[in-house]
C-alpha cells in the first residue's frame, strides 16, 4: 500500500511506476472502511440493526405482544418507578418496549431496504433507457414520470393499498412503484451528460453493443449519485411507512414497525414520552447509519478517491 501512495503523491513520469500488488478485495475493503470514521460508524450501526432484526427472537426478553395489565406505562428503568424487568419501560397495554423495538426493526428494515431496491431497479432501468436512447423513449418515460409526480404520492399509495389491502409484500411494491420516478429523473439527467463524454463515443467506435455500454460504462458511472439518493431514500421510506401506519394503512397489528410504534405513542406524549421517543431514536440512528455508510460507499466506488481518504 505504501508503494501505491508514493506513486500517487509524486507526479508520475512516463514508465516510472513501481510494481505494486493489490491486496485481495475483501482485505482492501476492510482497510478502506477502517480508514473512514463515519464509514466505520455507519457500518457498525447498520450491522447491529441487521443483527437485531435477524436474531430478534433470541434477543428480546419478552414476546412483543405479551400484555401485562399490572404493568401499564412503566417508565424506563433509570427513571423513578422504572424497574430492571423492563429496561425501556412498557406501553399502554403493558407490553415490553425493548422487545417491541427489537421486533419492530425487522419490518422497518425490510420495508425500507426492499422498497428502495424495487424503486431503484425500476428507476435505474428507465432512467438509463430514456437518457441513452433519447427520442420517443425518452419522451414516453418522462411523461410517465411527470404524471407520477403530478399526483401526490401518499394519495396514490393510499388508493393502491385501499384496493389491494396492506401486507408486507404489497407495501414494499407500492412504496417501490411510487418512488421510482425520483431515480429515473436523476439517472436520466446523469446519463444525458455521460452520453456525450468521449469514453462513451470511444466505446461506440470500438463496436461495443448498446446493452454493454449501458451496463459497463453508464451504470457504474451513475451509481455513486444513485447510492446517495437511495440511502437518503431508505430513511424517507421508513418514515413514510410510519405515516402510513399512522393513517391506519401501514403494517397492521399484531406486526410491529417502528413507524407504527411512533404513531401510536403520539397519544401518550404528554404522560409517557418514552413510547414515541425510543422508536423515533431507533429510526434516527438507523437512518444516520445508512447515510454514513452510503456516503462512504460513494467514495469507495469512485476509483479516483482511493488512497486519498
Amino acid at each position: 500500500m505504501s508503494v501505491n501512495i508514493s506513486a500517487q503523491t509524486e507526479a508520475p513520469r512516463e514508465e516510472e511506476f513501481e510494481v505494486s500488488k493489490r491486496p485481495n478485495q475483501l482485505r482492501r475493503w476492510a482497510k478502506l472502511l477502517l480508514r473512514s470514521k463515519t464509514g466505520t460508524i455507519g457500518m457498525l450501526i447498520v450491522l447491529s440493526v441487521c443483527f437485531t432484526a435477524v436474531f430478534a427472537p433470541f434477543l428480546a426478553p419478552y414476546e412483543p405482544d405479551a400484555m401485562n395489565a399490572a404493568n401499564i406505562n412503566v417508565p424506563p428503568m433509570w427513571l423513578d418507578g422504572g424497574s430492571s424487568a423492563h429496561v425501556l419501560g412498557t406501553d399502554s397495554l403493558g407490553r415490553d418496549m425493548l422487545s417491541r423495538l427489537i421486533y419492530g426493526s425487522q419490518v422497518s428494515l425490510i420495508i425500507g431496504v426492499f422498497s428502495v431496491i424495487v424503486a431503484g431497479i425500476i428507476g435505474l432501468a428507465m432512467g438509463i433507457l430514456a437518457g441513452y436512447y433519447g427520442k420517443w423513449i425518452d419522451n414516453l418515460v418522462m411523461r410517465v414520470v411527470d404524471s407520477f409526480l403530478a399526483v401526490p404520492n401518499i394519495l396514490l399509495i393510499l388508493v393502491i393499498l385501499g384496493i389491494f389491502g396492506s401486507n408486507m409484500l404489497t407495501l414494499i411494491l407500492v412504496l417501490g412503484v411510487t418512488n421510482w420516478v425520483i431515480y429515473a429523473r436523476l439517472v436520466r439527467s446523469e446519463v444525458l451528460s455521460l452520453k456525450e463524454r468521449d469514453f462513451i463515443r470511444a466505446a461506440k467506435s470500438i463496436g461495443t453493443k448498446d446493452s454493454t455500454i449501458m451496463l459497463k460504462h453508464i451504470l457504474p458511472n451513475v451509481f455513486s449519485s444513485f447510492i446517495v439518493i437511495s440511502t437518503l431514500s431508505v430513511a424517507t421510506t421508513i418514515i413514510l411507512e410510519a405515516s402510513l401506519s399512522f393513517l391506519g394503512l401501514g403494517i397492521q397489528p399484531p406486526s410491529i414497525s417502528w413507524g407504527y410504534m411512533l404513531s401510536s405513542g403520539r397519544d401518550y406524549l404528554a404522560t409517557s414520552w418514552w413510547l414515541a421517543t425510543f422508536p423515533g431514536l431507533a429510526i434516527t440512528f438507523t437512518v444516520l447509519g445508512i447515510i454514513f455508510l452510503g456516503d462512504w460507499l460513494r467514495d469507495v466506488l469512485d476509483p479516483r478517491s482511493q488512497g486519498r481518504k
Binding site: A11, E14, S205, R304
Partner: protein, 338 residues
C-alpha cells in the same frame, strides 16, 4: 506509387450539416455546414493528414467516417462498401476494421475501468478472444504500445497523459483494424511526449500494415507522420498533395499562410522568412462567404474570387487545389487559371 491501387477508403461528396432551429415559429431552417462536400481517397498503407484551424470540420469528418455522426449527404466507401448505408448491426461488424484514437486521453477512457478491461473491451465486444487467449492478447498489446504488464490492474487516473494515450492506441489496435482514424491524438500532450506517441504510431503502422487518417491542427505533427496532406478550410478541402510538395510548394494561399505561421525555433533562420499573416477570423460556417470561401482573408483575392466558387482541380500530378489563382513555385507569384 500507391496511386495505382484501389483506395481503402473513398469519401465522395461528404456533407455534415448541423441544424440550428431558432424557435418554434421560425420557418427559417438554418444549419451549420461543418463539412460541406469533400472528396478524399485513402490508399492502403498510407497516412493521410488532415489539417486546418479549429472549426474547419476536420474532426467532424473523422467522426462521420466512423458513423459517430450520421452524414447528411455523400458516400463513405470502405473497400467499395458504403458505410453510410449500413444498418447499425452491419456497421458494428465493420468497426473491427476501422478504429479511432481520440484527442483527449483523459476523457476517452472510462475512469471506472481497469487498464486490462479497457484494452480487453474491443476483444470482448466482438468476441474475438476469451479466457487465457484474451489475457495473452491484452498483455501482448500492452507490450506493443509500451505499457508494463504490471499496470493491468490500475485505473486510468493513475497514469500520465502519454501513457493513457498508449492505452487508447492499444484499444484501437486490439482488433487488428485496417484503418485507424487518429483524431488529434497528440494535441493534448506535452511536446516531449508528442514525439514519443508519433514514433509509436509510425512503428505500429509498419508493424501492422495500418492505414491512418491523421487529423491535427499542428503542422509539425502532420509533417512528421503524413504521406499526403489535405488542408481543410470552412468545411472544404482546399488543397491536397504529397507531403513534401505541400510543404515546399503550397499552391493555395491559405496553406501558404498556415505554413508561415509555424514557429521556427532558430532566430537566424526566422528572420529570413517572409511572414504571411492571415487577416481576420474564420467566417461562420452557418453563413459561408460567397464565391471562394477564403476570399475574405486572402491577400490575392479579386472580383472573380468573390463571386465564383473555384473548382477542386488537379494542377500537378496528385496535387489538387481549390483556387482560381494557385500559387506557383516561389512565394507570391501568381499564375492564371489553367
Amino acid at each position: 506509387m500507391s496511386r495505382n491501387r484501389q483506395p481503402l477508403l473513398e469519401i465522395k461528396g461528404l456533407k455534415k450539416h448541423f441544424d440550428i432551429s431558432s424557435g418554434w415559429f421560425s420557418r427559417e431552417q438554418k444549419s451549420v455546414k461543418a463539412v460541406d462536400g469533400i472528396d478524399l481517397k485513402v490508399y492502403p498503407g498510407e497516412t493521410l493528414g488532415i489539417v486546418g484551424e479549429s472549426g474547419c470540420g476536420k474532426s467532424t469528418t473523422g467522426n462521420t467516417i466512423l458513423r459517430l455522426l450520421e452524414a447528411t449527404e455523400g458516400q463513405i466507401l470502405f473497400e467499395g462498401e458504403d458505410l453510410a448505408k449500413l444498418s447499425n448491426k452491419q456497421m458494428r461488424e465493420k468497426r473491427k476494421d476501422i478504429q479511432m484514437i481520440f484527442q483527449d486521453p483523459f476523457s476517452s477512457l472510462n475512469p471506472r475501468m481497469k487498464v486490462f478491461d479497457l484494452i480487453a473491451e474491443p476483444l470482448r465486444s466482438h468476441k474475438a478472444a476469451s479466457g487465457r487467449e484474451l489475457k495473452k492478447q491484452v498483455y501482448e498489446l500492452m507490450e506493443t504500445v509500451g505499457i508494463s504488464k504490471s499496470f493491468a490492474e490500475r485505473f486510468p487516473h493513475e497514469f500520465s497523459g502519454g501513457q493513457r494515450q498508449r492505452i487508447g492506441i492499444a484499444r484501437a489496435l486490439a482488433l487488428k483494424p485496417k484503418l485507424i482514424v487518429c483524431d488529434e491524438p497528440v494535441s493534448a500532450l506535452d511536446v516531449s511526449i508528442q514525439s514519443q506517441i508519433l514514433n509509436l504510431l509510425d512503428r505500429l503502422q509498419k508493424e501492422f500494415n495500418l492505414t491512418y487518417i491523421f487529423i491535427a491542427h499542428g503542422l509539425p505533427a502532420i509533417k512528421h507522420i503524413s504521406d499526403r496532406v489535405a488542408v481543410m478550410y470552412l468545411g472544404k478541402v482546399v488543397e491536397l498533395a504529397d507531403r513534401d510538395q505541400l510543404f515546399e510548394k503550397p499552391m493555395h494561399p491559405y496553406t501558404e499562410g498556415l505554413l508561415s505561421s509555424v514557429p521556427i525555433p532558430d532566430p537566424e533562420n526566422r528572420n529570413n522568412r517572409e511572414r504571411i499573416i492571415l487577416k481576420g477570423d474564420l467566417p461562420s460556417p452557418a453563413n459561408p462567404p460567397s464565391g471562394c470561401r477564403f476570399h475574405t482573408r486572402c491577400p490575392y483575392a479579386d472580383e472573380k474570387c468573390r463571386t465564383e466558387e473555384p473548382a477542386f482541380s488537379e494542377e500537378r500530378d496528385g496535387h489538387h487545389v481549390m483556387c482560381h489563382y494557385p500559387l506557383k513555385a516561389g512565394r507570391g507569384v501568381l499564375v492564371g487559371n489553367s
